[in-house]
């Protein structure tokens, strides 16, 4: 059974129809990558799942439950975390405050905190620093750490490697592989090489529609299909 099902999701932003008819099934476990060109509707898909944009018709089902009309905060509390594009951290809060904000009871579970600091040691070093003073990579680590500070079923991550140095991207790949052992990751990514290294399943979105879905291994092996859907050479 799919963990997340999008059925005929349509989203308008102002007068523009961005998502026309998105149908998507995200199976439980592993990393599911949503690929596509700039402006294809990948970020809008994630934001529509979280109801940060209000999709008009269609439905979103999470773990069998219809979450279409739920409030964003209630969707988050069901166990869906969202890591937005451009390191969605709170710059005026410290690293500690950023993380504690995402805990359900206002305090850390020691084991989870240990896991976070093992995955991202820099966060421990800058624990009391305000988040705006972190580097781009550290901000991205904080953003991901915030998503896993509580157990989650599904984590939506929007372009996590954008603008990051290769060494940080490699660290992110390792972290995502580790995180995907306990949660399903729905990743929006433009960096196909990164996506291929961690993705198990994938879909391509183009002009607001899902135009292909399947296993990442098969897609990675099909160069002509990649060229046609992503314009890769």
């Amino acid at each position: 059974m799919s963990l997340l099902t999008l059925n005929q999701m349509k989203t308008d932003i102002g007068q523009y129809a961005v998502l026309h008819d998105v149908n998507l099934e995200v199976p439980e476990g592993g990393v599911f990558v949503l690929l596509g060109r700039n402006g294809a509707g990948k970020t809008t898909t994630l934001r529509s799942i979280m109801r940060l944009w209000k999709p008009a018709p269609g439905s979103v089902r999470f773990d069998g439950q219809d979450i279409t009309g739920l409030h964003t905060a209630d969707i988050a509390r069901l166990g869906i975390a969202y890591v937005p594009e451009n390191m969605g951290i709170f710059g005026n809060l410290t690293v500690e405050e950023n993380l504690i904000l995402a805990t359900a009871k206002g305090h850390f579970d020691a084991a989870r905190l240990k896991r976070i600091t093992t995955l991202f040691p820099a966060l421990e070093r800058f624990w009391t620093k305000q988040a705006w003073s972190l580097s781009g990579g550290q901000k991205q680590m904080l953003s991901v750490a915030r998503a896993i500070v509580e157990p989650r079923r599904l984590i939506l991550i929007d372009e996590p490697t954008k603008g990051l140095a290769p060494a940080i991207v490699a660290a992110m790949a390792e972290a995502f592989t580790e995180i995907s052992r306990e949660a399903t990751l729905l990743l929006v990514e433009q960096n196909f090489h990164f996506a291929r290294s961690i993705g198990r399943d994938m879909a391509v979105i183009d002009d607001g529609r899902v135009v292909h879905s399947g296993s990442m291994a098969e897609f990675a092996a099909d160069k002509p299909l990649q060229d046609r859907l992503l314009g890769l050479s």
Binding site: M50, L52, H71, T72, A73, A76, R77, A81, Y82, P84, G88, F90, G91, N92, L93, T94, E96, E97, I100, L101, A102, A104, G106, E124, W127, T128, K129, Q130, S133, R146
Partner: protein, 356 residues
């Protein structure tokens, strides 16, 4: 994983402790009626400004209705004391009524309008506050209209009340200060203000403070990690209104007079805004510094300028410029300079020092 403390933070906290000590011993350190008036006003405005900072500094809500809630508390106590006589029961019932009315109005305004854009919310609060001001003037059988209400306060606060007597039966003195009802009234103001300030300090130090800052920075992000922004904004609006209302009650008991000019006027709203900006938004310490500077300037800048005009009497132009009647002009200049040199307010800028 250790706690943070920059030298700027330490400097601000030291200054605030010093101000607290001065206010605690104010009746003994500054033995004149005007100084005690200034100290009491500072105590009350610290609470009022701090409660406003919960809105504007922590949560990013711009409201022009803060003096309305201040007025509800003041009029609650004033009407109760007038109708029921000078008892503690009247103070308690008046305070409770003020808080209840504030909560009802804040909940209504909050739920109806905190979903809309900030500018619309600000306009709605401005309209609501204007209605409250007009009502206070029109409902003169309850509020005394433009003249306001005078009333008696509990016997403990009467200047003639002897808290302690010496061997001759006269009111006892401590370091030359009469231990009378005026002193009791000041300490009522000081300790109730302190309690309210500590309550707000507790609120912002708790995880709730981080949630409010997160909402201020990015509402959508806060919602995406599970916080219902409208509920939190309404809650903090109500909390801020309740505290402002209690500050109004304290002020009413201190002044023994309540009128539109002392509680509901937009001049007070502007004072609050200036105090928040001068002190520094998003930090409770800013309320302390802002309130002290503004109140002291309002009371003493004119005297200072008079002395300066006298001292510079032989220099052309300067005595005219320093004429005490021009004190508002100089207050404006000082305000512009403070904003220029302390863009995040005095405490905000100083606390930034040493932070990375």
């Amino acid at each position: 994983m250790h706690s943070k403390s920059t030298y700027g933070t330490i400097a601000v906290k030291t200054a605030v402790l010093l101000i607290a000590a001065l206010l605690l011993f104010a009746p003994f350190l500054f033995q004149d009626v005007r100084a005690l008036e200034v100290a009491a006003r500072i105590c009350i405005f610290i609470v009022l400004v701090a409660s406003y900072d919960l809105l504007i500094g922590y949560t990013g809500i711009v409201s022009f209705a803060h003096t309305m809630f201040f007025g509800f508390g003041a009029y609650g106590a004033a009407i109760a004391l007038r109708q029921m006589g000078p008892g503690w029961d009247a103070v308690a019932i008046g305070a409770l009524a003020g808080v209840l009315v504030s909560l009802v109005v804040a909940t209504g305004v909050g739920l109806l309008s905190l979903r809309v854009k900030a500018i619309f919310f600000a306009m709605i609060t401005l309209a609501t506050a204007s209605v409250a001001l007009v009502l206070a003037s029109q409902l003169s059988q309850f509020t005394g209209g433009e003249d306001g209400i005078t009333y008696r306060v509990p016997d403990l606060f009467k200047p003639a009340t002897k808290l302690m007597v010496d061997e001759t039966g006269k009111v006892a003195r401590l370091f030359g200060v009469k231990l009378n009802g005026k002193l009791a009234a000041y300490y009522f103001v000081f300790f109730t203000s302190l309690a309210l300030f500590l309550l707000m300090l507790r609120v912002v130090a708790a995880p709730l403070g981080s949630v409010l800052k997160a909402i201020h920075e990015n509402e959508a992000r806060a919602e995406a990690i599970g916080y219902r922004v409208v509920a939190y904004r309404t809650f903090v609006f109500c909390l801020s209104a309740a505290v402002a209302s209690l500050a109004g009650t304290i002020y009413a008991v201190w002044l023994k007079y309540t009128g539109p000019d002392t509680t509901l006027s937009f001049a007070i709203m502007i004072d609050i805004l200036l105090m928040v900006v001068i002190g520094g938004m998003g930090t409770m310490w800013g309320a302390v510094v802002g309130a002290v500077l503004m109140v002291v300037a309002q009371y003493y800048l004119r005297d200072l300028m008079g002395a300066a005009a006298e001292a510079t009497a032989n220099i052309p132009l300067l005595p005219d410029l320093l004429d005490p009647d021009r004190w508002l002009f100089w207050l404006g200049i000082i305000f512009i300079l403070l904003v220029y040199f302390f863009p995040r307010g005095i405490t905000g800028t100083i606390m930034q020092k040493g932070a990375r």
